[in-house]
Symmetry: C2
Subunit: 331 residues, 2 copies
């Protein structure tokens, strides 16, 4: 089951030439969930992976740079006659905000479900859940989100199963799904349950204990890093984090990979990444359109895939000539 | 006095990979006026000419693709501590719309003036006016805008003035400003008044007589061309224009240059331009970030300057190495 994060916008507060406003598209199998939707998100998607019909949008908090792209995107879905349900989740106050947006996007030809979440409330999805993690920001109610997969069955000991008389093939599948086969129970041949993957997104926050707890041993923690330590006072004043603080939290929570986001336009990403890496080596600073792929742990660590690499890979896979992509050639 | 139009977004309804949502920045001398402000306009500016502190924003009508970039831009101005007045003009209903936006952008550290215009009302500026032209679209009240310069004084006949005893230098300036010098009156030595330049923007509209009248002999008419003739029914249904209709209007109004905009993402710009050129040869289809420069007529016709040419020209002027610009290299 593929799991990845696509960074549609890695800036914060104001858009820069290189970084759009916050939006992260999580894909798991056929599921697409969007986390935040800053102004211009629909176009960021159009210019990269396409404006996918995501099933859910999760808003972290109601500062405008995190949701102002939503009404236009809802409208664009309407113009192309979307007919499937879209669910928008967010903190208390979401209904009021969506009421304001409704006067922008008007009537929609698809069903829109609006769900206000309480802190720590979870949304069950097929094979995983999304939990609202209360974080500490200036907005009245601010969430990070933890995406947590259900545990997976353990490894099947194929040799042992065959010794007990089970034939490889469909019967192995039945054992893996928890059924007994010819008197052989799953407990006899299956190893211990394995933990699912966990991806945690901080939203906007100053260093926050609830988030550190939620992020414990996460495969990926995406944490805001609005400032460097030089601007630590400003970070404190605005309830944001420095790159160093994000790294300290990642280290203490023993996450496997830290990805920085919500980077102020005043910095090059490398500056923030280097500050974080001095504390926590497994840190990346994704650029817009980069992807983090999150394999099952036994298949290797989560890794950053640059947009240019991804395009090259996809061109190679489809046999297309190696030409500059449209998104590079356009103004 | 320089006069130019910068196309910050040439798409319509939904953003495409190559075309952002409607926004045109008019520069005249030190004045900067923005016409429409679709979602993502602030970033289009950041990525090209910079997010300039324009004095005025004129909204053509209240469909979301024409104004949804405004609250975020107002907020960005606030974050960088703008302190000069910003005036927003638009049709009746603007106050209500800005009330809705206020709940998005919050308190501003600069004065915001909101002015509802009646059809045909004019805004006087230093040396020119902006007139609201009622056009025909589905929004209850939709404007195009005509930017009309005051007439300029005629040519000074220098030879004649000297024969009459006026010395070249400051006294020539006084004659040009309408003062008599040593018994010589301006009427004796100045040619007839010359017309100022005129630029007309259609906003969204089906072919519209009021606009044709306003555009008579304009130096530049920027007219929407949402569709080709193949989609003429759809154009009629949605009260938009085809490229051919825009060209017919430009021809009948005897404009000097037609620039197409609000082009649907379904077309390459060349397709719309070619359809228009079959009727009216002096047609351009600007891409995002292109500029139209509008010199005084005696210095030549208005011309389209491609963004890449402009960058090359500016690099040459500043002596910078000829490297790919950031806006091309970025995702």
């Amino acid at each position: 089951m593929d799991l990845s994060l696509f960074f549609a916008g890695t800036g914060g507060s104001v858009p820069g030439a290189r970084r759009g406003l916050p939006a992260i598209l999580l894909r798991r199998g056929g599921d697409r969930l969007l986390f935040d939707c800053g102004e211009g998100t629909q176009r960021q998607l159009v210019r990269s992976v396409g404006l996918v019909d995501m099933e859910c949008v999760f808003i972290t908090h109601f500062h405008a740079d995190h949701w102002l792209g939503l009404p236009g995107m809802l409208k664009s879905f309407a113009l192309r006659e979307r007919d499937q349900l879209l669910t928008v989740y967010g903190p208390r106050g979401l209904n009021e905000l969506m009421g304001l947006m409704r006067s922008i996007y008007g009537r929609l030809p698809y069903e829109l479900s609006i769900v206000e979440l309480e802190p720590a409330q979870t949304v069950q999805r097929d094979g995983y859940l999304v939990a609202a993690v209360p974080v500490s920001h200036r907005a009245p109610s601010s969430f990070g989100y933890a995406i947590v997969e259900q545990p997976r069955p353990g490894h099947l000991d194929a040799q042992l199963a065959e010794q007990l008389g089970v034939k490889p093939g469909p019967d192995f599948g039945r054992l893996q799904r928890g059924e007994s086969v010819d008197g052989v129970s799953p407990q006899q041949v299956m190893g211990p349950e394995r933990e699912g993957r966990k991806v945690v997104l901080s939203g906007d926050t100053e260093p926050c204990e609830a988030l550190a707890i939620a992020a414990h041993e996460a495969d990926v923690l995406v944490h805001e890093a609005t400032f460097t330590e030089e601007e630590a006072d400003r970070a404190r004043l605005t309830a944001h984090s420095t790159a160093r603080q994000a790294a300290e939290l990642a280290r203490d929570a023993e996450v496997r990979l830290l990805a920085l986001t919500h980077m102020s336009t005043r910095y090059a990403g490398g500056q923030l990444r280097d500050e974080a890496r001095a504390v926590f080596a497994a840190t990346e600073a994704p650029r817009d359109f980069d992807t983090i792929e999150v394999p099952f742990p036994e298949r290797g660590p989560a890794t950053l895939l640059r947009w240019s690499e991804r395009q090259a890979r996809e061109r190679a896979a489809t046999g297309e000539a190696d030409e500059p992509a449209e998104t590079v050639a356009m103004p």
